[in-house]
C-alpha cells in the first residue's frame, strides 16, 4: 500500500508538473510573449482606433514586427496605444502609425511608415498633423475600413443609378434616331477626312522632302558661316578684321565723297540737260522749218536746183582758188609806195 501510494504520488506529481509546464510554454509561444526582453515599446496617440484589438500585428514595410500590447483612453479625447516591436528593428526617420483593416474578415493591423509616404488624403494628413506631439509619442490615424468605403461606394452607386435613370428618360426614340443619324454623318465625315489626309500626306511628303533639301542647304550655309566665323575669329585674333574695318571705313568715306561729287555732277548735268533740251527744242524748230522748206536753208535743202547750182559754184571756187595759188600775180599786185 505504501509503495503503491508513493508510486501514485510520483506519477500524479510528474504528470501535473509536465502538463503544467507544457501548457504554459504553449500559451507563451502562441502569444509570442517576450521573455528575453527583445521587445521595445512605442506609444502612439490617435483620435480613434477603428477595429484594432490587442494582439493585432504591427507591420513595417509589410513585415510583421510586433503586436499591439495595450489600448487605453487618454486625455482630451485621445486614445493611446502601446506597440511592442522587436528591439533590433530600425524605425523610419519620421515614423507615423496607420491603423487599417488588413483583410475583409475583421483583422486589423498597425502599420509604421514614414510620414513622407503617406497617401495623398487630405483628411488623413490632417489627422496625422493633429496627432503629432512632442517627445517619443508617435502620431497615428485610422484609414477608412471596408465598411466606410462600401458606404461611400453605395452612395456613388445610388447617384449613378439616378443619373442612369435620367439618361434613360432623356434618351427616347427620337434622340436615338438623331444619335444614329449623327453617327452616320460622323462616319461619312471620318471617311472624307481620311481621304483628305491620304491626299495631303503625299503633299506633306513632298514638302518634307523640300524642307529636307532646304535644311541641307541651310546646313551647308551654316557650315560655311561657321567656317567664315572661324576665319573671322582667326582674323580677329590677328587684327585683320580691325584692318578690314578700318579700310572699310576709309572706303566708305571715299565712296561718300564720290557720291557727293557725283551728286554735283548730276546737278550740273541736270542744268546742262535743261539747256540741251532748250537747244534741242530750238534746233528742232529750226529743223522743222528747214524740213518745211522755210528759210534759206530750208529752200536750199529742199530745192535740188539750188544744190546743183551751189555745187557748181563750189567747184568753180575750188578751181579759182587753185589758180590763185598757182598764179597769184595774175590776180594780186602789191606796191609799196
Amino acid at each position: 500500500m505504501t509503495t503503491s501510494r508513493r508510486a501514485s504520488d510520483f506519477v500524479v506529481g510528474a504528470t501535473v508538473l509536465v502538463v503544467t509546464i507544457v501548457v504554459i510554454t504553449a500559451v507563451l509561444w502562441l502569444k509570442q510573449a517576450d521573455l528575453r526582453g527583445k521587445t521595445r515599446h512605442l506609444v502612439v496617440r490617435t483620435r480613434d482606433v477603428g477595429g484594432v484589438a490587442l494582439g493585432n500585428p504591427v507591420v513595417i514595410r509589410g513585415v510583421r514586427s510586433g503586436q499591439i500590447e495595450s489600448i487605453a483612453l487618454g486625455e482630451r479625447g485621445w486614445v493611446v496605444l502601446t506597440l511592442g516591436i522587436d528591439r533590433d528593428i530600425t524605425l523610419p526617420s519620421d515614423p507615423v502609425v496607420l491603423l487599417a483593416a488588413s483583410s475583409l474578415f475583421g483583422e486589423w493591423q498597425a502599420t509604421i511608415t514614414d510620414a513622407t509616404g503617406l497617401p495623398a488624403d487630405r483628411e488623413l494628413r490632417a489627422a496625422i498633423s493633429e496627432s503629432r506631439t512632442s517627445g517619443d509619442t508617435l502620431a497615428g490615424a485610422v484609414l477608412p475600413d471596408i465598411a466606410q468605403l462600401t458606404t461611400v461606394a453605395g452612395r456613388i452607386a445610388g447617384d449613378i443609378a439616378q443619373v442612369a435613370d435620367r439618361v434613360q428618360v432623356a434618351f427616347d426614340d427620337q434622340a436615338a434616331r438623331e444619335l444614329r443619324e449623327s453617327l452616320r454623318n460622323f462616319s461619312r465625315l471620318s471617311a472624307q477626312l481620311a481621304n483628305t489626309v491620304a491626299l495631303q500626306s503625299k503633299n506633306l511628303d513632298q514638302i518634307s522632302g523640300d524642307v529636307q533639301l532646304g535644311l541641307t542647304s541651310i546646313n551647308a550655309a551654316a557650315e560655311k558661316l561657321s567656317a567664315f566665323s572661324s576665319r573671322v575669329d582667326s582674323a580677329t585674333s590677328r587684327g585683320e578684321l580691325q584692318t578690314i574695318v578700318n579700310n572699310s571705313q576709309a572706303a566708305a568715306k571715299e565712296l561718300l565723297a564720290a557720291t557727293t561729287r557725283l551728286r554735283d555732277v548730276a546737278v550740273g548735268l541736270d542744268r546742262t540737260e535743261g539747256r540741251l533740251a532748250s537747244a534741242v527744242s530750238k534746233a528742232d524748230s529750226v529743223f522743222a522749218k528747214v524740213n518745211a522748206g522755210r528759210g534759206t536753208l530750208g529752200l536750199m535743202v529742199n530745192d535740188p536746183a539750188l544744190y546743183q547750182q551751189s555745187d557748181s559754184l563750189v567747184r568753180e571756187l575750188r578751181v579759182l582758188i587753185a589758180d590763185v595759188k598757182k598764179n597769184p600775180k595774175r590776180y594780186f599786185t602789191m606796191r609799196v609806195f
Binding site: 503503491s4 501510494r5 508510486a7 501514485s8 504520488d9 506519477v11 500524479v12 506529481g13 504528470t15 501535473v16 502538463v19 503544467t20 507544457v22 501548457v23 504553449a26 500559451v27 502562441l30 502569444k31 509570442q32 484589438a53 490587442l54 494582439g55 500585428p57 483583410s103 474578415f105 483583422e107
Partner: protein, 268 residues
C-alpha cells in the same frame, strides 16, 4: 372498471414532480455541503488523494488524447469544407484553436470521462454500499464522506483540467497535421491563424470549465454510489444514472460558464 382521471390529478402530478425535483436538488445541495465540510478532515483524505488522482486522471490521459486527436482532424476538415474559398486558409488554424480550447476539448473529454470516471466511482461506491462496507466504516467511526467522497472529488476536480490540457495540445497538433497533409495549408499559415485571435483567456476558460466538470462528475458519481440499493442491479442502475446525470450536468455547466464568462465579451 377504469377510473376516469379527476380534475385534481394533473395539479397533483405536477406538484409531486416539482416536489421531487426540489427534493433532489435539496438533497444534492446537502451532499455538496457535506462534502465541503468533510474537506476539513485532511488526515482522512490526503493519503487517498494521489491514488485516486492516478486512477481518475493519469489513467484517463490516453482516452483524452485519443478523442482529441480525431476531434482535431475532423475539425480541420470541417473548417475547410464549411468556409473553403470564402476565407483565407489560415482561418482553419483559428477555428481549430478556438474550438478546441474553448469547447471541444473540455466538453468532449468531460463527456468521455463522465462515462469512465463517473461510472467507476458510482460502481465502486455502490458495490461498497450494497456489501455494507460503508456501514462498516461508519461503525468504525470513519466518515465515509472524508474517506471516500472528498479524495475522489478533489482528485477529479484537479485532474480533469490536466487531462483537458493534454487534450487541447493533442487536438491542436492533430489539426495542424491534418491541415498540413490533407488541406495543403502550410505551417506558417496554420500558426498565423492559431495566433491571430489567441488569448490566454481561451485556455483559462477551458481549464476552469473542465475543473467544474470534474467536480460535478465526481459528486454525482459519489452520490449515486452511496445511494445505491438493491444489489448488483442497483449498482448497475446507479452507475448508469451517474453517467447520464453527469453528461447532462456537463452541458448545463457549459452553458452556465458561457453565459457568465462569454456573454458581452468580444475577442480582445
Amino acid at each position: 372498471m377504469l377510473a376516469l382521471p379527476s380534475m385534481l390529478d394533473l395539479p397533483l402530478a405536477v406538484g409531486r414532480s416539482t416536489r421531487s425535483l426540489f427534493d433532489q436538488i435539496g438533497a444534492g445541495t446537502r451532499f455538496v455541503v457535506a462534502t465541503c465540510r468533510a474537506m476539513r478532515d485532511t488526515k482522512d483524505w490526503i493519503p487517498e488523494f494521489s491514488t485516486h488522482a492516478r486512477i481518475l486522471g493519469v489513467e484517463s490521459l490516453p482516452i483524452g488524447v485519443f478523442i482529441a486527436l480525431f476531434t482535431g482532424i475532423v475539425l480541420a476538415l470541417l473548417a475547410s469544407y464549411s468556409v473553403g474559398d470564402l476565407v483565407p486558409p489560415y482561418f482553419v488554424g483559428t477555428l481549430v484553436q478556438k474550438t478546441i480550447t474553448l469547447e471541444l476539448a473540455p466538453v468532449l473529454t468531460g463527456l468521455a470521462l463522465a462515462g469512465r470516471v463517473g461510472a467507476n466511482i458510482a460502481a465502486e461506491l455502490g458495490t461498497m454500499r450494497v456489501t455494507e462496507q460503508i456501514d462498516a466504516l461508519e461503525t468504525l467511526t470513519f466518515d465515509p464522506m472524508s474517506h471516500l467522497v472528498v479524495p475522489r472529488v478533489l482528485a477529479s476536480t484537479m485532474m480533469f483540467p490536466v487531462v483537458v490540457a493534454v487534450a487541447m495540445l493533442a487536438g491542436l497538433l492533430s489539426g495542424w497535421m491534418a491541415s498540413l497533409l490533407l488541406l495543403d495549408i502550410t505551417t506558417p499559415q496554420f500558426l498565423k491563424g492559431a495566433r491571430i485571435f489567441f488569448t490566454d483567456f481561451d485556455v483559462r476558460y477551458g481549464l476552469v470549465k473542465s475543473a467544474s466538470f470534474g467536480a460535478a462528475v465526481a459528486l454525482i458519481g459519489c452520490r449515486a454510489g452511496l445511494n445505491t440499493q438493491g444489489g448488483a442491479q442497483g449498482v448497475g442502475r446507479g452507475a448508469t444514472r451517474a453517467v447520464v446525470i453527469s453528461a447532462v450536468m456537463i452541458l448545463v455547466l457549459d452553458a452556465f460558464w458561457a453565459l457568465v464568462w462569454l456573454s458581452g465579451r468580444t475577442i480582445r
